[in-house]
Symmetry: C5
Subunit: 255 residues, 5 copies
């Protein structure tokens, strides 16, 4: 509803640089490229290559307040560490109000785990996030990952389509989902998401840059609205990260 904040020309295309993996996966993600342990690495890439926004948790956003302030921030409102097993719950850590007023959020993000025993807590928090964001005029990005013992295959086509639809039913502006395996499945997910834009969740670093570029090309051909990429960019050394960033932004944003 408020996508102009992220997309002033209303082109409906997005390239997010995700940087909440230090919390979600742990700092082993930074091993291959230790420079990436500091948010400066991603903020400068975003500034230099024209990503739509960088995704940060509250603490990182606070500490990096003065780094590249011209780069738009999506504040990730909930989060959890990757240690615990069992039915996932990612609690709201940062209210929309604080993200907007203190962390200059241009958009807010929230992860949903439909199918988890704790789904009710997340659906309820997310629905409130949608209303709060609406009141404050910022768009909402939903990370939607069906998970828990009820979900056998979390990237099956019908599961990805369901993820996209849930985002729409609850009021997300943008849904971030995994790749369901082929173009037709992604196209169906985009269709059932109706007015909600669907972007690809980048996932683990692919063997080659080209592999990821090809994947993103399929996403855009299938009606996707772009990508939220992290490891595929910042796990590569700077020169590589710059090359792939140029490609990603070109394909996702079409410029």
């Amino acid at each position: 509803m408020f996508l102009e904040k992220l997309d002033p020309e209303a082109r409906g295309r997005f390239a997010f640089l995700a940087y909440d993996q230090g919390l979600e996966h742990g700092p082993d993600d930074f091993r291959g490229n230790p420079e990436s342990a500091s948010p400066r690495f991603v903020l400068e890439l975003a500034r230099d290559f024209g990503y739509t926004a960088v995704v940060l948790q509250q603490g990182v956003a606070l500490a990096a307040r003065r780094i590249c302030p011209e780069v738009a921030r999506v504040i990730k409102l909930n989060g959890k560490a990757g240690l615990a097993r069992g039915e996932p719950y990612s609690p709201l850590l940062c209210p929309v109000e604080y993200a907007v007023s203190e962390l200059s959020a241009r958009a807010v993000g929230y992860t949903l785990y439909p199918g988890s025993e704790h789904e009710p807590l997340m659906f309820r928090e997310f629905a409130q996030v949608v209303r709060d964001a609406g009141r404050l005029g910022v768009p909402v990005v939903a990370w939607v990952y069906p998970r828990g013992k009820a979900v056998a295959n979390d990237s099956a086509p019908e599961v990805i389509a369901y993820a996209a639809r849930i985002a729409y039913e609850l009021g997300a502006d943008i849904a971030k989902v995994k790749w369901p395996g082929d173009r037709e499945a992604f196209r169906w997910a985009c269709r059932v998401a109706a007015e909600t834009k669907v972007v690809l969740s980048g996932g683990p670093t692919t063997e080659s840059r080209q592999e990821f570029v090809d994947l993103l090309t399929q996403v855009m051909e299938a009606g996707g609205a772009g990508v939220a990429v992290g490891r595929n960019v910042w796990q590569r050394p700077l020169a590589d990260a710059q090359v792939i960033s140029k490609e990603i932004v070109r394909i996702a944003l079409g410029r």
Copy 2:
């Protein structure tokens, strides 16, 4: 108490077009008729055939704000995805106040799962919904589905009658229940619901249109107040959906 909002002539008959299955069952429900993935499909049917109202979740209501605004909306206040197993809980996602002031709700809906281990949470939320709706002057529709390991057969006559009575005891204006198998059982459910109106929950698409029409006829003969139908309408291609809609509205509303 406030049925005039939905029923200005106080005829006590209702034909709701339910469209929350994208969340509750998932988008596979739209496979047979992909047009139905957009709320425009049901909103236009409702406009053209005189349904009492369309049932929408918060997100869909937000996204479809400008489509057929003359069609009345029942905002479904709680919801869950159909993935998780175990004792069901459908949390309140949207407060009555927001439904009325921001989503132009002409009525509100809430699903109860009596018998679930989480029944207390739903009874408590629903009782508050009744009071909030009373204060704001909108009627309350209760979806009542006894469920959980304590409920062997969720459409046994005594279970359906219990469902209808619970709606009445807690303060619903309208109860939506499943078909208990025969007319006498439905009549008893209507009787024990006292002042609360009882409508049929449409359920899965029947083999033929006629089958559903016959079922609805029995409901009305047994003292039912109409129907909340979804898949039996919008899972059919447009021409079929139009034919059955005409029949449904004629039987349920008697015109």
Copy 3:
């Protein structure tokens, strides 16, 4: 503390007509006398035979607002359906404030299940009900049924005495307990309840009217303050219900 609302002459005797079984047990309770499915049946009996008050849930009280408004209402503040097994919890559904201001409550009722794993939730809610009712000047009736896997026999003498004492320790004006099997056990329950009045919980319909009348007589001889009766009245056809009502009111209220 505020018994004058129910007992203006301070005679300390009460005859309540309980009508929350549609929720607690289900509408099968109305099978034998279908007239009883409407609250009109009990409200007219209460009016005609001088019961102290009728006990209603929020929804019934709302729907029956205009029926016999001169009959005093005890609004039952919590409730649950009889479907679920396991440790019982009956959640607060209606705040004292609403019961008094919108439902004309002359008293409020709340069921406690001491011994249940969920006892803490109920004790906490009840203690708050006592304070709210005190502030608003209405008396509190506690239904006290020790239950859960920790309670082997829920009508053993020591269990009934404990039930009565709990009501007193938490601040109830009146405790409703089951029959502990004999007069001496009931007398002890009344003694340990100290200033809290103890009334009999009527229970299932007895074989004959006389059987119930004899039971009530024993209650009064043992120092009981009356009865809260339901099925033993309204499961009988009207003529019978009238005869037993006359007896109940005569014995319980002594007039």
Copy 4:
């Protein structure tokens, strides 16, 4: 911090007459001396023999408002029945504000069960009680009983010392703990409680009065600050209860 309310001469010695066993253990505790079922029995003893205060639950304090109003009340803020098994939780039933303003509390009491799975709920409530009581100027007495499947022996010396220390770390003015078996163990508990005063929890009635008097003597010699006694007083017939009260007050208060 506010002990002057209970101890105007700052002598640091206390003799509490505990009367919350009707809730915690049940009315079987009154069997031997039925007079004790009414709070008048303990209130008059407290008045006649100079106990520091009587300990009452909300409901008893309300009902006994006009009995011996000159006797100081410690309002017990949390409580549970003795029926349920499993990990104990005693919920806050009465806020400090109400205890002070409506029940004339001269001090407030709260039971902690460290080691229980529900410890976090009680620690959190208790820490809030400490702050509320501080604001309102009344002292806080902590009943501290380590319990739950993690606690093999709830009166082992190291467990009693831990109990006393917990009271201190969380901010209690007075800790009530069980007898750890010998004087040295009690002395150590008093030492690690630092500024928090430690009183003996009276426990079940001893065979002879002298046995209890000897125990209390050891407590005082070990640096204890007195006793909170119940059954050892009011389970005895009046004459006996008077004799032992005289002894208790003499030893505990030193007068």
Copy 5:
């Protein structure tokens, strides 16, 4: 963000004297040096040897208000006893506001147990603590101990690095972590903590003073910002405690 409160010269080095073990471990920790059962022991050491601050729970801070008021206090906001087994949860016991306004907190502390089933409760409380502390201008110290059945080895290098990163992602100014076994592992933890300072958690008393001094030296060489030490100081007799304090402050603060 507000480290100047603890570190006016912005040297980025800290020596905390931790004294919350009476709650977390129990008073057996004081056995070897009974003087340490009183906070006076640590407060005087802190005053005499220039520790940055002493760490106290609410109750100790209240009781010790007038002892060495010139020594800075870190108020530990959450806590639990060491009795219970199972997935740990340390609840917020003291709000930031109270710590600052009533207990003169110069900083606040909170323990996180990532990996515990109760992680969501702690992450949520901690994120709120960060915002409250920011508003009130006090720095936040996070004790970060991954734990629970999901964590096989709570001091493995990757676990310690994850602990430090979590503190950063959620907004801590200082992270307190265990020793991961070697200098390189600690250095990596400091790197991934980015702007968050990392201090060593002192742990159990080492065989010799020198052993602890050597450990601290490695911490500082690896980029650590100091230490939060407790037992290694106050479990030693006064003379020893003074000698090691001098060493600790010299190495940690570099003076």
